[in-house]
Amino acid sequence: MGKENHIIEINHLSKSYGGTEVLKDINLYINKGEFITILGPSGCGKTTLLRLIGGFSNPDSGEIIMDGKDISGTPPHLRPLNTVFQKYALFPHLDVYDNVAFGLKLAHVPEDEIDKRVRKMLKMVSMSDYEDRDIDSLSGGQQQRVAIARALANMPKVLLLDEPLSALDAKMRKDMQIELKELHKKMGITFIFVTHDQEEALTMSDTIVVMKEGRIQQIGTPVDIYNEPVNEFVANFIGESNILDATMIEDRKVNFIGHDFECVDEGFGNDVPVDVVIRPEDIYIMKQLAGAQFSGKVTSCTFKGVFYEIFVQTDNDYELMIQDYNPFEIGSEVGMLIKPQDIQVMHKSCTRNEMDAEVIDDTHLRIFGEEFECKSLGEGHEAGSKVRVGVNFNKIDLQDNQEDGILWGEVANLLYKGDHYHLLIRIDTGEDLLVDTNDIWDKGDLVGIKIAPKDIKIIG
């Protein structure tokens, strides 16, 4: 699709609030008539991005191009787009009819035309009988419909939706998902939908933009994003998954959970550490061991409505999550099989922690402002000179008591990788450390951090 098909182009958009960068160099284009979802956990910047598009705040740098014009400085009432707000934001002093007519009256649309359009919009959201009702007398779902009708009455080219379904109960949410999707088809305009609900995103969108900490992680169709996540964050955030440490032995051959597997990925190089993602429904599980690639023992089996969720301890002591239509007895021996195309190989963002350090003396380094003991540095390292050090993920020692560590930090994220946890520790100076550990920690735990002298390696 060519450039002429883009209705919105976002170039190098950045925004900070009080010193924290909320959006970092966002680049994105949106096609005419597309249903695009911006997906991410809370605090990832998705709502800020929507507010910049809507005009409710201005970017620090970058541009938002709509129909060939940079609108990043245009006030919201002059932008040809409308918003459905998270908590509806209906005007409580006006009835349903006047809420929907609000924008049309401001635009001085003739009275009979207003009447026609309001009725049409209310009919479209099945709220025709509610014209004279007060806003407070409506249920959440009904208010949501009125908010959508109000936003669409102005005939915007783009409709922005800020987590519009988050305040509805589960059943209502499902119904509204379908209705929104139908509305999108009927209207033929562009929908930009913001949500933290990955299922919602997968069901509704033509394109999904996954965001994390102010950056776009991946842009793609729901199928692409689900089947070929670019990194462990996307894999973990979208759907259930087994994320495992692996080694790319050679093209089309990868080793994980102690076995070699055939895969379809090439070009990673030989003997390179990678991550693999295997969706729980892509692991074939059977009662006999003949024909299986590896074996294991069932540790739990839970009925989830359509399928059973089964946890298996493999022959090399890795834990895998599997979804299957058949139940398996706990404790029974099972065989398993993974097809080459179901193994998604991803680059590791890094394979060890690397940071700057300052030499204090022959056996001491200053790292993140604290003094660490290390092996003798040998000749050529003057006190005060800078070196680069590396520490492997599994060589960082976490302590229950913050005081027991040289540094302290907070567990900011954690990921189970089959036989160990992969933690992201945000230390008090704001830097991140990645840690592999067998101990169980929770998100938000405060930990002391120690590193043994022999595990601090000078790398440059």
Binding site: G54, G55, F56, P75, P76, H77, N82, T83, F85, Q86, K87, Y88, A89, L90, F91, P92, H93, F102, G103, L106, A107, D134, D136, S137, R150, A151, N154
Partner: protein
């Protein structure tokens, strides 16, 4: 049983003590006696005098009443305008600024009237503002505005912050959004702020006394003060007080009934 009786009696005793002075005036407004407390037989003469304005020096009483009402209405209206704008601005302030402004807003409320009065008096002289209607109204606005701010601010907090943005989104300019969407949400707070400011202005004595100048501008409170010093209150004050009290009582009852109805309607809808 006995406990209940005493509890009831206690309440009634309290109410009687609380309302006895007003009741006393109301009862004695129906007798002609010049001295309060002397019952010289039932008569509505004082009421007649009041409505016809035919009382000794009565024209000054009526003009004082008129002044009081004009000053109260003008001061309350301007305070409501000022206070509402201030409340909207204060709501969007953050952190230290918000705390500082809120603190400053509270000072005139706790400041003794006498200090407000004297300082305004000096300020008006310093700024060469003619003492009279203008200075009294300005002074009343000064001490009424903080009350309006205090009654409008909670309405701002109750408002869904997105509705202003929703109005902008639908094509309203900043001013249109304020007028068509934000102000309507604030009206209950503005009304109670207006009533509060009106009553504060109505019964103010100290500030008025210091800022009215020497042109002989009298409000009810300064008139009564001067009258009492001359020796004895004008008897027509009794029916006037009674009428004012009854008016306020009726107003209060109406407001209460309205609020109850509103609450009931909201309850029904849910």
């Amino acid at each position: 049983m006995i406990r209940k009786f005493f509890a009831q009696a206690y309440i009634w005793l309290l109410l009687i003590i609380l309302y006895a002075p007003i009741l006393f005036i109301a009862v004695f407004s129906f007798t002609e006696s010049k001295v309060l407390g002397n019952w010289t037989g039932f008569s509505t003469k004082l009421y007649e005098n009041l409505t016809q304005g035919s009382l000794d020096g009565g024209s000054s009483l009526m003009s004082a009443l008129q002044n009081t009402l004009i000053i109260a209405v003008v001061a309350a209206a301007l305070s409501t305008l000022l206070g509402t704008m201030a409340a909207i601005g204060m709501f969007y302030l953050r952190g230290g600024k918000k705390k500082a402004i809120t603190f400053m807003n509270n000072i005139p409320i706790i400041n003794p009237d006498i200090i407000t009065g004297v300082s305004l008096f000096l300020l008006f002289i310093f700024m060469r503002i003619t003492q009279g209607y203008t200075s009294v109204i300005l002074a009343h606005i000064t001490f009424c505005t903080p009350y309006v701010v205090l009654s409008v601010l909670p309405k701002m907090s109750q408002m869904n912050p997105n509705i202003y943005e929703a109005a902008r989104d639908l094509g309203a300019t900043q001013f249109q959004a304020l007028r068509k969407v934000v102000i309507p949400q604030l009206i209950p707070g503005m009304v109670s702020g207006f009533i509060l400011a009106f009553t504060m202005s109505l019964d103010d004595f100290a500030v008025t006394f210091f800022t009215r100048g020497t042109i002989g501008l009298d409000t009810l409170s300064t008139y009564i003060y001067a009258d009492a010093r001359k020796g004895g209150l004008t008897p027509e004050l009794r029916p006037l007080m009674t009428i004012i009290f009854l008016t306020i009582l009726v107003l209060l009852i109406i407001i209460n009934i309205r609020q109850q109805r509103l609450a009931q309607r909201n309850e029904l809808k849910k």
